[in-house]
């Protein structure tokens, strides 16, 4: 492809090719502080391509392709090329990665132990992780957490954090503007702005940590903590894993061990401050 970038996020080396320079330039800016290894073979390939050759210039629209393709994915306008790149990277990992069990979950770490937060879009898992990552936690990832099927450790996937809607203003007031990407207004997911993780989180992205706590956050309602049994946590995490079935018995073994060794809770919270307070409270009890 005409324009290309190589980016390493956690254990995944991406190669992103594009018919246009803009998405590649935006990615290189967001990922400028990540370790580079141009010699390393790509684990996942993302292609952003024009449907017809002339569409590179005329109302350019970006199709997402790569090793794995979702046939019905709609093309995005070129102004959202960065979002297309991010969606492509997520897709290749979600569908193609086999070395670890992939959980659709955010995670933060402290003292070599991790809090894994799993939830649907809108649960606030991404915003909670972003806020904790600005405090004395290491951000491991806002979207995916990888579990080593042999050792049981959690591995980071600290891609640029995808702030959505209200979270944009909440974070913009706390961080250096140089860590924010361009505002992508009116995308199919609402307004999006990327936040580059702190340099210490990127530098530590290869350090595995032992899961200490699994949380299932739910935004809205009075603050509440609901202890969750191993069986329910297992069921929810099979649903949150994009490659559980593909991993076969290794995935089964990894997940049964994870839920047996890690306490799990559902939490409800009306605002970010109470969400963070609940995480800190449960953390203090879990590592005591």
């Amino acid at each position: 492809m005409r324009y290309a970038a190589r980016i390493a996020v956690g254990p995944v080396q991406f190669r992103i090719g594009s018919d246009w320079p803009e998405p590649v330039a935006a990615l290189e800016s967001l990922y400028a502080g990540y370790p580079k290894d141009p010699e390393r073979t790509a684990d996942a390939t993302v292609r952003l391509f024009a449907a017809r050759p002339w569409r590179r210039w005329l109302r350019p629209s970006v199709h997402i392709g790569g090793d794995f393709v979702v046939p019905d994915a709609l093309p995005l306008p070129l102004s959202m090329g960065l979002l297309a790149a991010e969606m492509g990277m997520n897709l290749q990992v979600a569908l193609g990665w086999r070395r670890h069990m992939l959980l659709h979950a955010s995670a933060v770490a402290r003292d070599g132990r991790a809090v894994v937060m799993s939830g649907e879009s809108g649960s606030g898992k991404s915003t909670l992780a972003a806020l904790l990552g600005e405090g004395d936690w290491r951000l491991m990832g806002d979207e995916f957490t990888l579990i080593d099927p042999v050792a049981g450790d959690a591995l980071a996937f600290p891609r640029a954090i995808s702030l959505k809607n209200e979270a944009i203003a909440e974070m913009a007031g706390r961080v250096d503007a140089a860590r924010l990407g361009p505002l992508l207004a009116g995308t199919p997911k609402g307004d999006i702005r990327h936040l580059i993780p702190r340099a210490d989180a990127i530098a530590a992205m290869h350090q595995p940590v032992r899961p200490a706590l699994i949380l299932f956050p739910r935004f809205g309602g009075e603050p509440a903590i609901e202890p969750m049994g191993e069986g329910e946590a297992f069921v929810r995490l099979t649903e949150a894993s994009t490659n559980y079935i593909a991993l076969g018995e290794a995935g089964f073994a990894a997940l049964t061990r994870l839920v047996r060794t890690t306490p799990a809770f559902g939490i409800a919270y009306p605002d970010s401050a109470s969400g963070i307070a609940l995480v800190e409270q449960l953390w203090a009890e879990a590592v005591r």
Binding site: G229, G231, V235, E249
Partner: protein
């Protein structure tokens, strides 16, 4: 009803992991994960290598748990065995 005969899966076919109130069963032949509740794990455990029926299993379970071997027990065990057969975890003999 109670006179159908069943045989357990081969010894190495199932990986059974109790998870609190649920039990997760991985079937190595189909690569499927099944989540079951009591008395399914107890029934699987009570099945030996030989062919058996609901009445015989109800008697074995009654000897180990607080259960009447007569009454409803054989019919309940027969229903659970039919469900296990539908999941592929036991086979009709």
């Amino acid at each position: 009803m109670g006179d159908r005969h069943y045989v357990a899966a081969p010894a190495d076919a199932l990986r059974i992991e109790p998870l609190g109130e649920l039990t997760a069963i991985f079937d190595r032949r189909s690569m499927q994960t099944h989540l079951v509740v009591s008395p399914i794990p107890e029934i699987l455990e009570a099945m030996g290598p030989e062919v058996c029926d609901a009445r015989a299993l109800a008697q074995r379970l009654a000897a180990r748990f607080d259960l009447e071997a007569e009454g409803d027990a054989p019919a309940i065990v027969a229903d659970r065995l039919a469900e296990l057969a539908a999941m592929g975890l036991v086979a009709e003999a």
